[in-house]
Amino acid sequence: MFTTIRYILLTALRDWLFGGLFIALCLAAAISSFLGSTALVEKSQMSISFTAGSTRVILLTGIIVFVCFHVRRAFENREIEVIISRPISRESFVIAYWLGFSLISLLLIAPLIAAIGIFWEVNLPGLLYWGSSIILEALLVVAFSLFTALILRSAVSAVMLCFGFYFLSRLMGFFLFILEKPYLFREFNFGVVTEKLLNLVSVIIPRLDQYGKSDWLIYGINGDLSFQIFVTQSLIYVPFLLLMAIFDFKCRQF
């Protein structure tokens, strides 16, 4: 298992994932600082919010693209066949891949959290709250990306599905909001079918809109209970996705 994890880390280095994402994150932080410095007041808060929001999106996009393309390329180059020809169970293979990608995510997120803490005056409990939620969000996204890359035959389809899933999950709060207040859409009638469909989707899709809120960095936690939501959500969803990936991978014929 450790060999597989090490192999994934090496491929991340080979594909310039760390270097590329590091440059992108530095650029995002620099642009955010510049934009923040031109605000009338609350310049620091502006920079923090822009940095937190933009780096989160860049990181997760990078992780999704890397995981999907890495797995699909491994299939095409028959690297996976080589790996599973060794004495490693398919369950261990999926877990090792997930651990490897999760470790990469951690290695990318930890310096980001440290940099935000060092360069800006942020609320410390809020930073820990935000940091832990981003890590859990990354673990969930890694699990989903791995699952889609294992079941779909095209890397592009896997990436598109992951983006769809991510945006849908981030929109769950909005869906629940419009289900509660349909009168806000004066010219659109949801109808029973759409309403039921939205309800069904909201049951299945995780609430990623409760993760990585940049106001924690500015105002602190202030009795916010999102921690319970994002920890529980991750505890339910990550094992579920991994089990699905294992189930599918075990049925696969090589």
């Binding site: 605000a39 929001g53 981030r170 709060g173 909005f174 806000l184 106001d215």
Partner: protein, 263 residues
């Protein structure tokens, strides 16, 4: 059939020119041309609905609040243009400010922008009522913490709009802030100043007296100012002779005069 390269280039240029300039036959226009399509350069962007804001924020309300706040800050001054504040649609601006306040009622970014930047409009009569309403609306959410924006609203109403009634209305909210919340005494006295400007000296004196009675920790400077205020208004009332002076005001005035004559 082979077509030579120069003919292809000429054909491309003709098609592109038609696309750019449009197709006009006599007075009929079949295609306006792509040069007629310009970016929408509204000064104040169209206000989103609350539902749309929830959707676009993707769960990070703070990010959206800051991003849209920044857009409102630079509205009308983008793409190399500058727009005088008199040309802004303040009713739309007001809707934006109220909408964004729902995302973050704690931040002082928007009220600062509204008061110090948009408050400097060249058309105060038409525009400032929106700013005053917004500042009052913003402070209403947390009067104890946001009292400063009441004073700013009063400033705009009193000095720029010359609307003493509106200023008085807001100053009542300042006076109503619970005693245990620490705000400067001058803010609590604001109502007295406005009443005094309206010529209602008696009521103004009573407010100052009430503050003197209610607050134990009054600095010497504040105390001197309040005594001066009472003295000055009692004198004015005596001169006008048409208002009945509160006996306590008179008493304070006389004792103060005696103190001064001794000195």
């Amino acid at each position: 059939m082979s077509v030579s390269r120069p003919y292809l280039i000429i054909l491309f240029l003709i098609l592109q020119s038609i696309f750019w300039y449009g197709i006009h036959i006599g007075e009929t226009t079949l295609w306006k041309g792509s040069r007629a399509i310009k970016p929408n350069l509204d000064i104040v962007p169209v206000v989103d609905s609350e539902a749309m804001v929830k959707a676009i924020s993707f769960g990070d309300n703070q990010f959206y609040f800051r991003a849209m706040g920044y857009e409102i800050q630079n509205a009308g001054d983008s793409f190399g243009r500058t727009t005088p504040l008199k040309n802004y649609d303040y009713s739309e601006l007001y809707k934006w400010l109220v909408l964004l306040d729902k995302l973050d009622p704690v931040s002082d970014y928007l009220p600062s922008m509204a008061s110090y930047y948009y408050g400097a409009t060249q058309n105060p009569k038409a525009h400032l009522p929106y700013i005053v309403d917004y500042l009052e609306n913003h402070a209403d959410k947390m009067p104890g913490k946001k009292w400063w924006w009441y004073t700013q609203a009063i400033y705009h109403a009193k000095h720029k709009l010359n609307d003493l009634e509106r200023a008085l209305e807001i100053s009542e909210k300042l006076s109503d802030i619970p005693k245990d919340i620490k705000i400067p005494l001058w803010a609590r006295q604001m109502r007295a100043f406005i009443l005094e400007q309206k010529g209602e000296y008696k009521q103004a004196c009573e407010i100052i007296l009430n503050i003197l009675d209610t607050y134990e920790e009054v600095s010497e400077g504040e105390l001197n100012f309040m005594l001066y205020f009472i003295k000055d208004r009692v004198k004015a009332m005596e001169l006008s002779g048409d208002e009945k002076i509160d006996p306590r005001c008179q008493q304070l005035y006389e004792s103060n005069m005696k103190k001064h004559s001794k000195n």
